[in-house]
Amino acid sequence: MIEIKNLNKYFNDQKVLDDISVHVNTGEIFAIVGHSGAGKSTLLRCINGLESYSEGSLSVLGKEVKELNESELSALRSHIGMIFQNFSLLNQKNVYDNIALPMKVWGYGKEAIQKRVDELLTLIGLEHKKFAYPKELSGGQKQRVAIARALTLNPKILLSDEATSALDPNTTKSILELLQEINAKLGVTIIIVTHEMDVVKKVASRALLLENGKVIGLGRIEELFLKPDEKMMTFLGEDEELPSEGANIRLFFPSQVSYQPIVTQMARELDLNFNIVWGKLEKLNNHVVGSLVINVDKKTASDVTHYLQTKTEVIWEIL
């Protein structure tokens, strides 16, 4: 769907995107995460040609974005919807006209427009606000209208640039649920740019972590969040305080075992005591997954690992 290879971008002398390679699959929700100034919005804007790139390749729906002329780029953009942090609605147009705008621009007939706008109003649940102006809407409602406008032309891809950053937690939740619904029902591939980890954990299946224009992590979010490497830990601002005596063993509980009483069962069967020194449970993508660090006597460490290996689906590592 989207294939990015060795992408570089410079602003004057400064390298803002540094050798980025990533593949986005059809139908997934993919997150681009990073702190402000990491280059994530710039990368997103390269996908629909709002920003240019200096070197490397970026192909969307089989077309190299850099090589498109104006009308080819317009045509590609009609397959890519986009939503923004500050909603970017036309204040002088009502909800209906805002949602209809992309179809008007592309010269659709009045009846087709009416039908499509009504469908979208139902999808976003704002039928009763059809003739309201943006200033009469709440932030969440404005973003819903913006989402409807981004979907007007039946795009294959939806780009979201910090779309929930200006919203309160409950509104954020409802907007994310709407995006998930769009992804599941309409099969739209969604790329989310955000600095909010909660957003990533809630909806994304895979994520790309950016820092100073460089990729510092890429993969399924269960792996990124539960088996963070050192860079990822710094990124998340997490720090583990572990005892220096004995053996520290980290256990990962994939979602299929996270509700089983594995730890207590192991203690009973092996008849041993241990200390739980660190732990974390996360809800990722509607699955609960967890990690736990236990501290055991050095002598019994091999018994524990042997038990985990043979009797459970838990993934482990000795720290």
């Binding site: 709002l50 009308s71 317009s74 953009r77 009609s78 890519i80 986009m82 500050n86 204040n91 943006p134």
Partner: protein, 225 residues
């Protein structure tokens, strides 16, 4: 009492002169505002398009237009009328009278309106333009589908302001051969030293400006969302 009766008798005698002058002032102001708005609008679109952040940046065109507009705006209006006498004569056939004054009034205020409309366009949130681009809006559609509707209330305010300035300028034009209330104030009030003429011309101008401003404010209020 005696003085008041004389004042009203004299005022009644001025009625036809003042009504004719008012009609001339209205003709000059409204026609000039209309023409200056058309020219100003086209200039504003060229400015906003060729601006370095515009949709088709062109430094040469922008700079030439920029300097020309600034130059025209630096002229004291009364001097501009005189400088434009040959142009006016070429276009209208003479350089005095109500219709002749439409030429300098239009040329003198079009650059001003152009700047005001350019400002209104620039005020439009750039992220709205970005959003329009994101669903494939072409460059020139952006002007008419996005910038114009979003800037429309500010443009109405700009036209109101220009109309009032043109009313003032048209009174000035009356002193160098134009018609209208300015000419009456000059010929009857100043040269013949008749204070009552001055009083009525100023009074009518005040009322006229109030009416134009109120209409402008009302329009702004109903179209602004």
């Amino acid at each position: 009492m005696e003085a008041l009766i004389t004042f009203f008798e004299k005022s009644l005698g001025m009625k036809s002169v003042l009504i004719d002058a008012l009609l001339e002032t209205l003709t000059m102001s409204l026609v000039s505002t209309f023409l200056a708005t058309l020219i100003g609008f086209v200039l504003a679109i060229v400015l906003i398009t060729t601006d370095k952040n515009g949709i088709a940046p062109n430094a040469y065109v922008y700079k030439i237009l920029d300097v020309t507009i600034n130059m025209l705006r630096s002229f004291p209006f009364i001097i501009l009328i005189i400088v434009l006498f040959p142009v006016t004569k070429f276009l209208v056939g003479k350089h005095t009278g109500t219709f002749a004054m439409i030429v300098p009034l239009t040329i003198g205020t079009a650059p001003f309106i152009a700047r005001m409309i350019e400002g209104a366009f620039k005020e439009v949130d750039s992220s709205v333009v970005e959003a329009a681009k994101s669903f494939g809006t072409r460059k020139f559609q952006i002007i008419f589908r996005v910038l114009l509707p979003e800037a429309f209330p500010s443009i109405i305010s700009a036209i109101t302001l220009s109309l009032i300035i043109i009313v003032g300028f048209s009174a000035m034009a009356g002193t160098v051969g134009g018609g209208g209330l300015g000419a009456v104030a000059m010929n009857y009030g100043y040269y013949r030293f008749d204070g009552i003429y001055i009083f009525w011309t100023v009074f009518i101008l005040i009322v006229l400006v109030q009416i134009f401003q109120s209409i402008g404010d009302f329009l702004y209020k109903i179209i602004k969302h």
